[in-house]
């Protein structure tokens, strides 16, 4: 016997966060899934996929090969009209293929992101961070922390790693930002995807002809070897470029806003010289801050029994990662930011299953360096506006702050 609401009464998703609680999940979603880890919601196209909020249920489904990311299957719960409209134009990639096809693509992308390779980047990341902070401190007060540090740091890093010219950053940042808005028309989606894709295709062809010492050249070499097409290589490059700057940038801006509200937690991060404490603090910030809050999209390929419900073959599934990070069954007092939380690393901020974030180790090292360096070098850092004047990215698939005016 199911106590799930009839489909006709499924509430609309996405839902707004509560006014004054920019760091917590939408209250209506919490009410909907208060006593069960999944429920039905209604999305932009009128369909009623399942939304999954429980930590255990998410891990079960994300690890289940019957749960697919194949966005071309009928009934797939696309993020918005634009994503649905461009589906035939997106080549196969790690984002829309299942194992074993996914494994083949993923292993072409993972080489630059091993722990060893990322650890070797620490001096470079530290220097970029110091240079950006020098420039901010030499400039006028107040400064926008997003423009001064949060956005340029990960963008510079991923550009250098991939071999994408940093001087093109305005172009790809703007198009990427439009592409991940909640509401994108078919026309705009085709335009931004077309522009970015064309740019990457050109770059891949250039790297195939004149290889350099960067990750995009390694990917282009696989085109020359006949392993993948230019379109597939461009999609890999585009995925890494967008995911590589947008998410970390939001983590830097949003964490700074949150830590300035919790001075005792900020002090812990600022005053420690223990790398384990810093690493643990970053895991807690990844857990506490819901950067990926639109819900990862999946579709059931077969009937799946979970938590007393049956997800039927062909039904959409929305895995709302942020809610799992606030699951009290796993994280006691889940709404408290506790940088010493012992099991913070169990968060789902990078997802779970075979699609878990490729660049997560790079993100971790960037965040470990930037938080420590910022609060140590600028101990008097403070908001230059009232908290309720901060503009949060409620309308984006990746949550964060649009700007963060700070002074010191």
């Amino acid at each position: 016997m199911s106590d799930v609401l009839p489909e006709a009464e499924a509430p609309e998703w996405p839902m707004p966060r509560a006014a004054g609680c920019p760091f917590d999940p939408p209250p209506a979603l919490r009410a909907l899934t208060d006593d069960k880890p999944l429920a039905r919601v209604r999305i932009w196209d009128g369909s009623t996929p399942w939304i999954v909020t429980g930590h255990a249920a998410q891990r079960t489904l994300l690890g289940d090969p019957r749960v697919s990311v194949d966005e071309r299957l009928p009934g797939f719960p696309h993020w918005h009209e634009g994503m649905a409209a461009a589906v035939e134009y997106r080549p196969r990639s790690v984002f829309n293929s299942d194992a074993p096809e996914h494994t083949r693509y993923r292993r072409i992308m993972t080489g630059p992101f091993t722990l060893k390779r990322v650890e070797a980047l620490r001096p470079t990341i530290q220097k970029i961070t110091d240079d950006l902070i020098d420039r901010m401190l030499a400039g006028p007060k107040p400064a926008d922390l997003v423009e001064a540090l949060a956005l340029p740091l990960p963008t510079l890093m991923i550009s250098e790693l991939l071999g994408v010219p940093y001087e093109d950053h305005d172009f790809f940042q703007e198009n990427a930002a439009r592409g991940i808005a909640h509401n994108v028309s078919a026309e705009e989606s085709m335009r931004t995807f077309g522009a970015l894709n064309g740019y990457l295709v050109q770059l891949v062809e250039k790297k195939a002809a004149e290889p350099a010492d960067d990750a995009l050249s390694d990917i282009a070499a696989r085109v020359n070897a006949g392993d993948i097409t230019v379109a597939e290589a461009a999609m890999m490059g585009l995925g890494l470029l967008i995911a590589g700057h947008e998410t970390s940038a939001n983590m830097i801006g949003l964490a700074t806003a949150a830590l300035l509200e919790h001075p005792e937690q900020l002090a812990l991060l600022r005053d420690t010289d223990d790398p384990k404490v810093v690493a643990g603090a970053v895991e807690e910030l990844l857990r506490y801050l819901g950067i990926i809050h639109g819900g990862q999209r999946r579709i059931a390929k077969e009937d799946i029994e979970i938590a007393g419900e049956t997800i039927r073959a062909g039904e959409g599934i929305i895995i709302e990662l942020f809610s799992a990070n606030r699951d009290a069954d796993v994280f006691p007092e889940p709404d408290v930011m506790d940088l010493r939380r012992a099991n913070a690393r169990h968060h789902n901020a990078f997802g779970f299953g075979i699609h878990q974030c490729v660049g997560q180790q790079l993100a971790r090292v960037e965040l470990q360096i930037v938080y420590c360096t910022l609060f140590r070098r600028v101990p008097t850092l403070a908001l230059a506006v009232e908290r309720d004047e901060i503009q949060f990215k409620h309308d984006r698939l990746a949550y964060g702050v649009y700007t963060l005016p700070v002074t010191w």
């Binding site: 994300l62 690890g63 494994t103 993923r106 292993r107 072409i108 993972t110 080489g111 992101f113 091993t114 722990l115 060893k116 990322v118 690393r345 169990h346 990078f350 997802g351 779970f352 299953g353 075979i354 699609h355 878990q356 974030c357 490729v358 997560q360 180790q361 971790r364």
Partner: protein, 64 residues
Amino acid sequence: MKVTVEQDKCVAAGQCVATAPDVFDQRDEDGVVVLLTEEPAADLADDVRYAAAVCPALAIHIED
């Protein structure tokens, strides 16, 4: 404790190496897991269990 890994399932997230670097490593070319020791010392057991729990591909198996 006896540890086994499934390289075919591994997605090179790097979680095991970050958690238990004395037991797990990654292949240079694609980050796929390399097991350094099948029978880790007792003082590493907790880290290895944590590594298995956070492995997103469920590719680490432990027999006690």
